[in-house]
C-alpha cells in the first residue's frame, strides 16, 4: 500500500479547529495519522514531503462548476476540467446539469460518473436537474436521480420561474433531503441584460441586469423554503440586498445556505470596460459596495461557502461582440490565488477561507459528502499544500482547463497550490515541490 508522510507543515483544518504546525501520514486512500510528533510507524516505502511550513489543509470542494461534458466538449471535458480543479486545489467538484443532454435522468449521471472514474483525476459529484430538460415546467425524476447519486438538484443557469413548480420540487425534495440549488434571476427582469445595471452599463450602452432581478427571486425562494421546509441553497450571491435577505432568513431559522464566487468577492463592474468579454459573467460583476457586503456576509457566516462557478468557454465563443459572448469565467485555477488577495489585504483570514472551501461545502451536501473536507483520521486522503506567499502571473495558455476565459490574464497573484493529493495519489504538484 502506498503512503505519503508530510512533515513540517502548518495544518489548517476548520473541521477540527486546527491551525498549528503538524505532520500527516496518508496510507492507501485514507488519512491514518496526524499530530505534532511522529507516528509510531512510517512505512519504509512512504514518500516523504517536507512541507517547510507550507499550509496543509483538506482538499477543496467546489459546489458549483461546469465541466461541459456531455455536449460541449470543445469548452471542457471531465478530463481537462478535473485536471484544472486539481491545479486549483480541488479534490471534489459538483458539476452543474446544464450539459447536453442535461443531467435529468440516470443515464447521464452514470455517463458522468463513468467518465470521471476513467478520465478524471479527482472526485466528481453530479447535480441533477430540478425540472425535465431544465425547462422549468415539469419535475425531473428526482427519485431516480437521487438513487443514481446526485448530491443536489438545480436548473442552474435558470431559476425555476414558475413558483408553483418550484414549490412542488421543494416539497418533493424532502424525500431525499438534498438541497435545491437555485440560480436566482428573474428572467424577465434580467432579459437581454449584459452587465450590472448602472453607470457602467450606461457608459457602454449595454442593457443592464438590475439587482432586483436576483433579490426578488432570493426573497421568493426563501419564502418557499419556509413554506416547504426544503433545504435551499442560493448559488453565486452577488448583491448586498441578497446578503441581507439571507441574513434575515437564517435569523428566522429557515433552512437556507448560500455560496459566493471568488470573482464576486474581488472584482467589480469596471472590469467590463473596454467590452472585455472575459469579465462577462452571470450574475454580473457588481459595485464595490456589493463586494464589501459579500465579504462581510462571508465573514459573518451569512454566506456559507465559496464556489467557483467555473464556466469555461472557447476562444471563438468569447472573441466576439459583447452581447453575443456567453456568460462565464474559467475560475478553478485562479480561485485560491485571487482569494489570497483578500487574506493579504487583511479582509479575511486564511482559516475562514479554507473553511468556506472545505468544511462548509461538505456540510451543505452532507448526505453524500461524508468523510470529505476534513483531515480527521479515517477520512479520505484528499489534502493539499498551499504556499500563501508564492507569487505568480496568470497565464491562461498554461491552464489545464480548455477555458482560457479569465479577466485575470497577466495579473500577478500571491498564493498558490503546491500539491494536490486525491485519495492518497499525488495528482498535481508544483515544480518547486521536492519529494523524497
Amino acid at each position: 500500500m502506498k503512503s505519503i508522510f508530510i512533515s513540517d507543515a502548518h495544518i489548517i483544518d476548520p473541521s477540527q479547529g486546527i491551525d498549528s504546525p503538524g505532520n500527516l501520514l496518508l496510507e492507501g486512500e485514507k488519512i491514518v495519522w496526524s499530530g505534532t510528533g511522529k507516528p509510531e510507524r512510517i512505512p519504509d516505502e512512504a514518500s516523504i514531503i517536507k512541507a517547510n511550513n507550507l499550509i496543509l489543509c483538506p482538499g477543496f470542494i467546489d459546489l458549483h462548476c461546469h465541466l461541459r461534458e456531455p455536449g460541449y466538449e470543445d469548452k471542457e471535458t471531465i478530463a481537462t476540467g478535473t485536471m484544472a480543479a486539481a491545479r486549483g486545489g480541488f479534490t471534489t467538484v459538483c458539476c452543474m446539469p446544464n450539459t447536453n443532454p442535461p443531467i435529468d435522468n440516470r443515464s447521464v449521471v452514470d455517463y458522468i460518473k463513468n467518465k470521471a472514474s476513467t478520465e478524471g483525476v479527482i472526485r466528481v459529484l453530479p447535480i441533477g436537474c430540478i425540472t425535465r430538460e431544465r425547462k422549468g415546467d415539469a419535475l425531473a425524476d428526482m427519485g431516480e436521480l437521487d438513487s443514481a447519486g446526485v448530491v443536489a438538484f438545480s436548473d442552474d443557469g435558470n431559476s425555476v420561474m414558475n413558483s408553483r413548480i418550484l414549490r412542488q420540487a421543494m416539497e418533493y425534495s424532502r424525500l431525499f433531503d438534498l438541497p435545491i440549488i437555485e440560480h436566482c434571476e428573474d428572467s424577465l427582469l434580467a432579459q437581454g441584460g449584459q452587465v450590472n445595471e448602472g453607470i457602467i452599463a450606461t457608459r457602454l450602452g449595454l442593457p443592464g441586469i438590475p439587482v432586483a432581478a436576483e433579490e426578488s427571486i432570493v426573497a421568493r425562494d426563501i419564502l418557499l423554503a419556509e413554506l416547504t421546509g426544503a433545504k435551499l441553497h442560493i448559488a453565486h450571491v452577488s448583491t448586498r440586498g441578497s446578503v441581507e435577505l439571507i441574513r434575515q432568513a437564517k435569523q428566522k431559522g429557515i433552512r437556507v445556505t448560500a455560496e459566493v464566487t471568488p470573482h464576486h468577492l474581488t472584482l467589480t463592474e469596471e472590469k467590463v470596460l473596454g467590452y472585455d468579454t472575459s469579465a462577462k459573467v452571470n450574475p454580473p460583476l457588481r459595485t464595490a459596495e456589493d463586494v464589501k457586503a459579500l465579504i462581510k456576509g462571508l465573514a459573518e457566516n451569512v454566506i456559507d461557502a465559496i464556489a467557483t462557478d467555473h464556466a469555461p468557454h472557447t476562444r471563438v465563443d468569447k472573441q466576439c461582440e459583447f452581447a453575443t459572448a456567453p456568460f462565464g469565467i474559467s475560475m478553478l485555477e485562479t480561485a485560491l490565488g485571487i482569494l489570497m488577495g483578500l487574506v493579504h489585504d487583511g479582509k479575511l483570514d486564511l482559516p475562514l477561507i479554507i473553511s468556506k472551501l472545505t468544511r462548509e461545502p461538505a456540510a451543505i451536501i452532507g448526505n453524500r459528502a461524508w468523510n470529505l473536507g476534513t483531515l480527521k483520521t479515517g477520512a479520505f486522503a484528499d489534502v493539499i499544500l498551499i504556499d500563501p506567499e508564492k507569487a505568480w502571473i496568470v497565464d491562461p495558455e498554461r491552464f489545464a482547463s480548455k477555458g482560457k476565459n479569465t479577466p485575470l490574464a497577466g495579473v500577478r497573484l500571491k498564493g498558490k497550490v503546491i500539491a494536490t493529493i486525491y485519495r492518497g495519489n499525488l495528482v498535481y504538484k508544483d515544480s518547486s515541490l521536492k519529494i523524497e
Binding site: 448602472g198 452599463a201 450606461t202 457608459r203 449595454l206 461582440e321 459583447f322 452581447a323
Partner: protein, 334 residues
C-alpha cells in the same frame, strides 16, 4: 485659406490661434469619450476647410488618392452611409461598400474574421455600423487599419455628435456654458451618448428629458465613468433657458416592449411643438439626427421652422467625415 499641394497629398491649413494638427492622437474614431477639446476643435477647423471644398463646382481633392475606404454596415442607414461615401469620394479615396446582408456574414463569418479579411484586402479605413455596442472596439483590436464607428448599438455615434457640435458652433459663439436639452429616448440612443461626451468636453451643460422608462440607468450616482448631466423628465421645465434643443427619434419597438403606454401619450407628454419651443431661448436652435417621425417626437411646424437646423446637420456631416478621414489617413504617415 486652404491650399493643396501639387502632388495632392497634403492639405495645408492656415494657422489659427489655438488650432494645430499636432494635438491629434487618434488612430480610430470609436467614441468621443477619449477626445480632448483641442482635438474636437481641430476636427471642426478642418471641417471648415472641407466645407470650402464642397462649395466648389468640382467637389474633389486628391488627399486620399490611393487609399481604400470600406464601409461595412450591419444595419440599414441612408444618410450616414451616403455621407461617408460622398466624403471619401470627395477626397479621392477608393470606396467599397459592404452590406452585411449580401456578404459572407450571412454564412456565419465572425466580425473578427471579417475584419481580418478586410485587412488582407488592403483597407486603410473601415467605417463600421453595427447593432451591437462595442463592435467597433472589438474590430479595432484586430486590425491595423483605422476604424470609424458609424454607430454601434446604444453606445456611440461619434461622427454624428461631431457634426452636431459643428452645427451648434456655426450658430453660437462658443459651446461653453450653453444649455443643450436632449429630448426623447436617451436610454437607447447612441446619438445622445456621444453628444453627452462631446458637448460636456466642450463645456456645454446637458439636460436629458425623457420618460423615466427611457432614461439611462445610474445617472444619479456620482461616477467618473460618465459625464454629469441634468435630468428633467418634465419637458416644459427642461426647455426653459435652452440654447439648443436636440430631439431624438422614437423607435416604435419601445411601445411593444411596454416602455411607453402609447404613441398618443408620448406626443402629449414629449413632442416638441411650437408652444413648448417658445419656452426655450428665442434664439434656440432645433436639431434632430434623423430620420424624423414628423408628428411624433417633433411637430412638422417645428421641424421646418426658422430655428430648425436639421438640414444643415446633414450637409455638415459630409464635411466632418471628410475631416476625420483626412486626419486618420494623414496621421498614419507621421
Amino acid at each position: 485659406m486652404t491650399t493643396w499641394q501639387e502632388d495632392g497629398s497634403t492639405l495645408l491649413l492656415t494657422p489659427r490661434s489655438g488650432v494645430t494638427t499636432s494635438v491629434w492622437r487618434h488612430h480610430h474614431i470609436l467614441d468621443l469619450d477619449d477626445f480632448t477639446p483641442e482635438e474636437i476643435d481641430l476636427v471642426l477647423h478642418i471641417a471648415d476647410a472641407m466645407k470650402d471644398v464642397l462649395a466648389r463646382p468640382i467637389k474633389k481633392v486628391p488627399a486620399l488618392r490611393g487609399k481604400n475606404v470600406i464601409t461595412l454596415f450591419y444595419e440599414s442607414s441612408t444618410r450616414t452611409r451616403l455621407s461617408f461615401e460622398l466624403a471619401a469620394k470627395s477626397l479621392s479615396a477608393d470606396v467599397s461598400s459592404l452590406a452585411a446582408a449580401s456578404s459572407s456574414i450571412t454564412k456565419g463569418e465572425s466580425l473578427v474574421d471579417t475584419f481580418l479579411t478586410l485587412q488582407s484586402l488592403g483597407a486603410d479605413v473601415v467605417v463600421l455600423r453595427h447593432p451591437q455596442s462595442g463592435a467597433p472596439e472589438l474590430a479595432a483590436r484586430y486590425i491595423s487599419a483605422s476604424v470609424i464607428n458609424a454607430g454601434d448599438g446604444w453606445h456611440a455615434h461619434p461622427t454624428q455628435a461631431l457634426l452636431d457640435i459643428y452645427t451648434i458652433k456655426q450658430h453660437k459663439q462658443s459651446l461653453k456654458g450653453l444649455n443643450v436639452v436632449i429630448i426623447g429616448d436617451t436610454r437607447h440612443s447612441r446619438v445622445a451618448r456621444s453628444n453627452i461626451w462631446g458637448l460636456t468636453i466642450m463645456g456645454a451643460r446637458v439636460t436629458l428629458c425623457s420618460p423615466p422608462t427611457l432614461l439611462p440607468s445610474g445617472l444619479s450616482s456620482a461616477s467618473s465613468w460618465f459625464p454629469r448631466v441634468r435630468v428633467e423628465t418634465n419637458i416644459e421645465k427642461a426647455l426653459q433657458g435652452a440654447d439648443v434643443v436636440m430631439v431624438l427619434r422614437l423607435q416604435m419597438e419601445r411601445m411593444q416592449a411596454g416602455l411607453l403606454p402609447s404613441i398618443r401619450e408620448y406626443i402629449q407628454l414629449y413632442q416638441l411643438n411650437e408652444n413648448r419651443l417658445a419656452l426655450a431661448k428665442p434664439d434656440a436652435i432645433v436639431m434632430h439626427p434623423g430620420p424624423m417621425n414628423e408628428g411624433i417626437e417633433i411637430s412638422p411646424e417645428v421641424a421646418h421652422c426658422a430655428q430648425s437646423v436639421i438640414n444643415e446637420q446633414v450637409t455638415n456631416g459630409v464635411a466632418i467625415r471628410m475631416a476625420l478621414l483626412y486626419l486618420l489617413t494623414r496621421s498614419k504617415k507621421a
